[in-house]
Symmetry: C2
Subunit: 319 residues, 2 copies
DNA sequence: TTGTAGGCGTTATCAA
DNA sequence: TTGATAACGCCTACAA
């Protein structure tokens, strides 16, 4: 591969002049610059990232670290973040699993967005010594650590209050994993709505955010004599599993049991009946996270991450 | 951040000795090694990737370049590839859009897997000068270029022959984009099956692999007087759109029209009726691609990429 | 406006 | 078994 040295030699200038020209520095004669750029093109020159990064102590990369590539919401967040970051000249690189630790430890990024509970708080704080760390869906404070969470509590509370107003009384909760802050926040909002209206929690089902677990719970509920009249699921995937089971067992939704989820994943548009859900605009969230990061990396220290908008998508599930 | 220099100084050895110890070279006294490793831990030392890469001309990263983060099959391919690559000490980094070009040009990877038709053949061949390029779903030959494609032709042909044997005669094709090799291969197999059995192509619908386009076509077909009795869709997402439209229009599947897709995406398990599809084991494919790459990077030059297995998932769609 | 030279953090050659 | 030292490719004071 051609290096800057090759370009300089062929253009008949010194390495530094070549460097200036290649980096659009003003201190180089127009003619010289043109010649250098021309030669660079001929030689198919492109800077070596390692060398540049070593010198500048920047990589131009923003890392996005997720717990798996097949989550239904990552795609949206990533699309939003990617578009925004590219505008500002940053590259997004996505990683998962053990690779994430390596990339983080070796400082291959200028900033990290973390959506992976496998990475411990402790280690994240360490990384924050090297670059800003933005945690999603996690309660973590620290120097150079920033967090952004969907306002689960408030959003769910409002929704449940609405449902109570609509006349539902036997309201059950299908949870996510106990250690998930998302689940905790949503459950908190759920409880607050019940308390505020002096409604009893009808039942609590232990879930884990997966379709298959939702399916199991759905099968179980179908067999119950005293069923809830409304089941709020902590996320859409659980709800989809429930709907599937209900359909197989002949439980009518929503007349027998209303079901709602959280996230607004695409899959919910294709269930029968369509899933009522609290839809989060994850793409917008990704954009907000991205613009926060870029302004942070530009040295702006007092910037804030926006809240992603949430809308309730009422489908055929209501009374 | 601590550098190797800091470690060496604190351990009272030279930089080179520190380097040897840190890289598990045999030529260093046990005691010395222990001390160095101990100090490295105390200092929370981790090598600087840029410096190492600059020197070794390797990055340890394999890039996966996709046309968007929200495709339904990437997740599976990536999960498979990631697991496999991590075992061998490689990191996978995923990128999309303009970032991909930057990362590729700047040689931030040791190998690239390309699943993005926005990257031109011409430019990919150029990249292949710097590292092996594996193209998916694309016909491209060249030095240091390797390709892996699902055997669309053969798989579809076999499936269509089966359906003809089952008695379907008015068989229509809903295509993907004309420039997609996947679509081309599938259509070829489709035609071959028809020709071989002297069956007429009943109708051809112009699609683009999206749910929304499938939905449009579905609406259109619902209005037709002389409908096909079997609609083969070039991918699952199209088929899902069709099913959605059919449901809304009261077209019964499969008694009135049978519908099948290609890919085996999860969404197809939740449509009503469940989507009959040619399911590709994309995770397995990812693993095969990954192990091909690792053996390639180990210097093994005569290795081959395996074919991903395909199975037909017959759901409630058949006669 | 251009060139010289030092150094970023590593690895690896060679000599000790 | 260890230690100087020269690269790797690039950027950037500083000097010319």
């Amino acid at each position: 591969m051609a290096t800057i040295k090759d370009v300089a030699k062929k253009a008949g200038v010194s390495i530094s002049t070549a460097s200036y020209a290649l980096n659009n520095q003003p201190n180089v004669h127009v003619k010289t610059r043109e010649r250098i750029l021309q030669v660079a093109k001929e030689l198919n020159y492109y800077p070596n990232a390692s060398a540049r990064n070593l010198k500048t102590k920047k990589t131009g990369n923003v890392g996005f670290f997720i717990y798996g590539f097949d989550g239904p919401i990552f795609g949206d967040i990533l699309e939003g973040a990617n578009n925004e970051l590219q505008k500002e000249g940053y590259n997004i690189i996505v990683s998962s699993g053990k690779s994430s630790s390596v990339i983080l430890m070796e400082r291959q990024v200028d900033a990290a967005i973390i959506f992976d509970s496998n990475l411990s708080d402790e280690i994240l704080v360490k990384y924050a010594n090297s670059f800003p760390v933005i945690v999603l869906d996690r309660d973590l404070r620290g120097k150079n650590v920033y967090k952004s969470q969907v306002d689960n509590n408030e959003i769910v509370k409002k929704f449940i209050l609405d449902m109570i107003r609509d006349g539902y009384r036997k309201i059950a909760y299908l949870s996510g994993p106990q250690n998930s802050p998302s689940n905790t926040g949503r459950y908190k909002g759920f409880k607050e709505a019940l308390n505020q209206t002096k409604t009893e929690e009808f039942k609590f089902y232990d879930g884990d955010f997966t379709i298959s677990r939702g399916y199991e719970i759905g099968k179980q509920i179908a067999k119950e004599v005293n069923k809830p009249d409304f089941l709020f699921c902590a996320n859409d995937e659980s709800a989809v599993g429930v709907l599937q089971a209900f359909k197989e067992e002949g439980v009518n939704v929503p007349s027998e049991i209303a079901v709602a989820g959280f996230d607004g994943i695409m899959l919910g548009d294709f269930t029968i009946p369509k899933l009522t859900t609290i839809a989060i605009d994850y793409r917008e969230w990704g954009m907000q996270i991205a613009s926060f990061i870029t302004s942070l990396l530009e040295g702006n220290n007092d910037c804030q991450i926006g809240q992603p908008p949430a809308i309730v998508k009422f489908k055929e599930t209501t009374k």
